[in-house]
C-alpha cells in the first residue's frame, strides 16, 4: 500500500466575526481564552467553517471535494495549505505541497508573460531551476509563445488563463491542491488541461480538486469527499458518491420550497386555474414512471421509462406538438424527443384531455439524476415554448450490473445496451 501523504485529524475551524476594537486587541495578544470571549460576545459571532474533519490520503490518490457554496471546501484547502490555521486538530503533510486557490496568482498586468511565469512559479513553491527546466514546456503548453515577452495586459482573457494554468500544470510539487481552476478556457484548452492533469496523475502525484462540475470530476478522481456544513458526509468512489450528492442537493432544495428552480420529483399536477399554457393548450400533468410500474419505486437502468405529458386542448386545432429535453445533473443536454413523427389523429381537430407518452427504452440511460424540460411546439408560428417547470428523476444501477462494472468505470449519461458480436477473422 502506498504511504499516507496527507493525514488530517479532527480539524475544526471557526471564524470570529466580532469586529470590536477591544476584542481585536485581545485576540492579537492572544491573552484571552476564546471561550471567555464567546461568553462575552455571544456565540452568534462565530462561524464554523470546518468541524472535526479527519481523513487520510495516500500517495497517488486523486480526491474530488464537492459540496454546496459555503460547505467549507476552500477553507479545507486553505487549512491544509497552511494559509489559515485550524482552530483545533492537526494535519500532517508529507512531501512538497502546492495549493492553487486561483490560477495566475500574483500575475501583474504590466509584466510580461515570461516575468509572470517566474514570479508565479516561485510563489507556488518552485525553485528557479525547476522553472528553468520547465520553461519551454510551460510556454509550449500555454500556446502564447509569440507573445511571451509582451505584458499580459495585452492578452485576451483566454490567453491569460492558458498561461496561468500552464504554470500550475508544470508544478514540481508531489501534492497539488486545486480550487475551481477549470472555470476558464475554450474546449481545446479544457481538453489539454485534462490531459495534463491525467499525466500528473499517472506520474503518481497526489491531487485534491475542489470543483462544481460533477462530470469532469468523475473522469479524473479516484475518490470523492462530500462536504456539508463543514463536515465530510460521504467519502468514497465517485460512482457511488456522486448520485448521493445530487440526491442530497435536490432533496434539500425540494424540502425547502417545492417550486424552487422549477423542478419537481417525478410528478407534477396543476389545477385548471393556474396551469401553464395559453388559450389553446393547457398543461395538466407531467410525470415520469417505470413503464411497468407506478410513480413510486426505484427506476433502474434496465427499466423502460415513460415520460407522460398530459394536456387539455381547448380549441380543435391541429398545429401542436409536444416533447421534452433530457439533461444530466451537470446541465448538459443528453437528448430531446418530440411527437412530430407520431400519429396524432386521435387529437386532431378535437378538444379534450390527452396524454402524450414518450418511452425511453431500458438499458439506455446510465445511473444518475436526470432533468426533464418540457416543450410545446406551435408549428404554425414556428415557435418552441419551454415550460418554466420540469421534472427530475433518478436512475440507479440494478445489482447485477453494478457488480459487473465494479472493476471498470463508465462515464457519461448513457449506458446503452449495445448489440455486440464477436466474429472469427480468417
Amino acid at each position: 500500500m502506498k504511504p499516507v501523504v496527507i493525514k488530517a485529524e479532527g480539524i475544526s475551524k471557526s471564524y470570529n466575526l466580532s469586529r470590536s476594537l477591544l476584542s481585536g486587541v485581545q485576540h492579537e495578544l492572544g491573552a484571552v481564552d476564546p471561550r471567555i470571549l464567546q461568553k462575552a460576545y455571544g456565540s452568534g459571532d462565530k462561524i464554523t467553517a470546518l468541524s472535526d474533519i479527519s481523513f487520510e490520503v495516500r500517495q497517488g490518490e486523486v480526491i474530488g471535494v464537492i459540496g454546496r457554496n459555503g460547505a467549507g471546501k476552500t477553507t479545507l484547502l486553505k487549512t491544509l495549505a497552511g494559509i489559515t490555521k485550524p482552530t483545533s486538530g492537526y494535519a500532517e503533510i508529507s512531501g512538497q505541497m502546492a495549493a492553487i486557490l486561483e490560477i495566475g496568482m500574483g500575475f501583474h498586468s504590466d509584466l510580461t508573460g515570461m516575468e509572470n511565469i517566474f514570479f508565479n512559479g516561485k510563489l507556488m513553491g518552485m525553485s528557479k531551476n525547476d522553472i528553468r527546466r520547465q520553461i519551454d514546456n510551460i510556454i509550449d503548453f500555454s500556446g502564447v509563445s509569440e507573445f511571451i515577452n509582451v505584458p499580459v495586459k495585452y492578452y485576451s482573457k483566454g490567453m491569460y488563463a492558458r498561461l496561468a494554468f500552464a504554470v500550475v500544470a508544470h508544478l514540481s510539487a508531489d501534492i497539488i491542491l486545486l480550487d475551481e481552476v477549470f472555470l476558464f478556457g475554450d474546449v481545446d484548452f479544457k481538453k489539454a488541461s485534462f490531459q495534463r492533469i491525467n499525466q500528473l496523475i499517472s506520474e503518481g502525484r497526489t491531487l485534491m480538486i475542489v470543483t462544481h462540475n460533477l462530470n469532469e470530476l468523475v473522469s479524473v478522481c479516484s475518490r470523492v469527499f462530500i462536504l456539508r456544513n463543514g463536515e465530510i458526509i460521504a467519502d468514497g468512489h465517485p460512482e457511488q458518491i456522486i448520485p448521493q450528492y445530487v440526491e442530497e442537493v435536490f432533496s434539500s432544495i425540494h424540502k425547502k420550497n417545492k417550486n424552487i428552480r422549477g423542478f419537481h420529483d417525478r410528478l407534477k399536477e396543476w389545477e385548471t386555474s393556474d396551469s401553464p399554457g395559453n388559450d389553446t393548450v393547457r398543461v395538466r400533468r407531467l410525470s415520469v414512471k417505470r413503464s411497468e410500474g407506478d410513480h413510486d419505486g426505484t427506476i433502474t437502468n434496465s427499466d423502460a421509462i415513460d415520460i407522460c405529458f398530459t394536456f387539455e386542448k381547448l380549441l380543435p386545432v391541429s398545429n401542436y406538438d409536444f416533447g421534452f429535453l433530457l439533461k444530466d445533473s451537470g446541465d448538459n443536454p443528453v437528448f430531446g424527443s418530440t411527437t412530430m413523427q407520431c400519429d396524432k389523429s386521435v387529437m386532431e381537430n378535437s378538444t379534450g384531455v390527452f396524454t402524450a407518452t414518450g418511452t425511453i427504452p431500458g438499458n439506455l440511460l446510465n445511473s444518475g439524476t436526470f432533468f426533464l424540460h418540457f416543450l410545446i411546439i406551435e408549428k404554425s408560428l414556428n415557435q418552441v415554448n419551454l415550460l418554466p417547470e420540469g421534472l427530475f428523476f433518478k436512475v440507479e444501477l440494478n445489482d447485477s450490473l453494478s457488480k459487473e462494472i465494479a472493476s471498470s468505470r463508465f462515464i457519461g449519461p448513457l449506458r446503452p445496451g449495445l448489440q455486440w458480436k464477436i466474429s472469427n477473422e480468417k
Binding site: Y15, G24, H27, E28, L29, G30, K78, T79, L80, A81, G82, I83, T84, K85, P86, T87, S88, G89, Y90, A91, E92, I93, S94, G95, M97, A99, L101, E102, M105, G106, H108, D110, L111, E115, F118, F119, K122, L123, M124, G125, S127, K128, P151
Partner: protein
C-alpha cells in the same frame, strides 16, 4: 520525505526569522517584481530615479542653504543635507511600503502559502536600487567637494544596517496592525512624512537645544544620519546618547517580529 505539521496557533514566542531565511528566493522574487513594475511602461525609466535625488539636492541646497542659511559648520551644506536625505528617504520608502505591503498585496496574502514576513522584508531589497543611485550621487559629491578617503568610512555599513532595521521595525508593526485596523493605511504615510521634523535631515543636531535634543536622541533615525555624516563626511562623532534610540529600536524591532508572527496565522482570515 519531510513532513510538515499543521497545528492550531501555538503560544510559542518566535521571531519567524528562520522562516524568512528559508524563503530568501521568494523575497528576492518579490523585490524584482516591485522594481520591474515600477519601471514598466515608463519612457525614461531609470532617469526618474536619478532626477529625484538631483532635484532634491538642488531644491534643499537653495532653500535651506542659501535662503534660510542653515549652518552646517565646516561641511558644505549640499553634501550635509544630501547625506541626511540619503538615509531618510530610504527610511520613508521602507517604512511606508513595508507597512502597507500586506494590504496592497492582499490578493496574494489571502491565497498563497508562504511566510508573510517575506513581504515587508522584500521592500528593503526593492528600495536598494534607489538607495544605490542616491549613494552614487553622494560619492560624486564627495569627490567634487574634495573629501578624502578615511578608514572610518568602513563603519558606514553598520549605520546602514540600522537604517534598514529602523524602516523595517516601523513597517512590520504597521503591517501587522493594518491587517485588522485598515485606518493605518490613511494615517501612516502622513505620519512618516512628518517625521522629517524630528529627524536632523536638513538641519544639524546642534541647532536643537534643551529637552528637544532628547527627542532627537530617542529617534533612532537621528543616530543613523549622524553616523552617516560622521563616517562619510567626518563630522563630530555621534553622542553616546544616540544609543538610547538604538536600544529602543532594537526592542521595537524584536517585539515587532514577534507580534507579526503571532498575527501571521490570522492574516488570511482577517485581511
Amino acid at each position: 520525505m519531510q513532513t510538515r505539521r499543521i497545528t492550531p496557533n501555538s503560544d510559542k514566542i518566535s521571531t519567524g526569522l528562520g522562516e524568512l531565511f528559508s524563503s530568501l528566493p521568494l523575497l528576492f522574487a518579490f523585490a524584482r517584481r516591485d522594481i520591474k513594475i515600477k519601471y514598466a511602461q515608463t519612457y525614461m525609466g531609470i532617469f526618474w530615479s536619478v532626477f529625484q535625488p538631483i532635484s532634491a539636492l538642488v531644491i534643499v541646497s537653495l532653500f535651506f542653504g542659501k535662503l534660510i542659511h542653515l549652518d552646517s559648520g565646516e561641511t558644505p551644506y549640499p553634501v550635509f543635507s544630501f547625506c541626511g536625505m540619503l538615509g531618510w528617504f530610504y527610511f520613508v520608502y521602507l517604512a511606508g511600503h513595508s507597512g502597507l505591503s500586506l494590504v496592497t498585496q492582499q490578493d496574494i496574502v489571502r491565497k498563497a502559502s508562504f511566510p508573510k514576513i517575506v513581504l515587508p522584508f522584500s521592500k528593503a531589497i526593492s528600495g536598494l536600487l534607489d538607495y544605490g543611485i542616491w549613494f552614487v550621487i553622494l560619492i560624486i559629491l564627495l569627490i567634487v567637494y574634495g573629501f578624502e578617503f578615511k578608514f572610518r568610512m568602513f563603519l558606514f555599513p553598520a549605520f546602514f544596517m540600522i537604517n534598514i532595521i529602523a524602516g523595517l521595525a516601523v513597517g512590520i508593526w504597521v503591517a501587522a496592525l493594518s491587517v485588522r485596523y485598515r485606518d493605518l493605511y490613511q494615517i501612516v504615510p502622513y505620519l512618516i512624512g512628518m517625521s522629517i521634523f524630528v529627524t536632523p535631515v536638513v538641519y544639524p543636531v546642534e541647532t536643537v537645544s534643551g529637552w528637544m535634543r532628547y527627542v532627537l536622541y530617542l529617534n533612532p533615525m537621528s543616530g543613523v544620519l549622524e553616523g552617516y555624516r560622521w563616517t562619510l563626511l567626518g563630522t563630530q562623532i555621534p553622542s553616546s546618547n544616540f544609543l538610547l534610540g538604538f536600544g529602543l529600536l532594537l526592542i521595537l524591532f524584536i517585539t515587532g517580529l514577534i507580534f507579526f508572527k503571532r498575527t501571521e496565522n490570522k492574516i488570511a482570515d482577517l485581511i
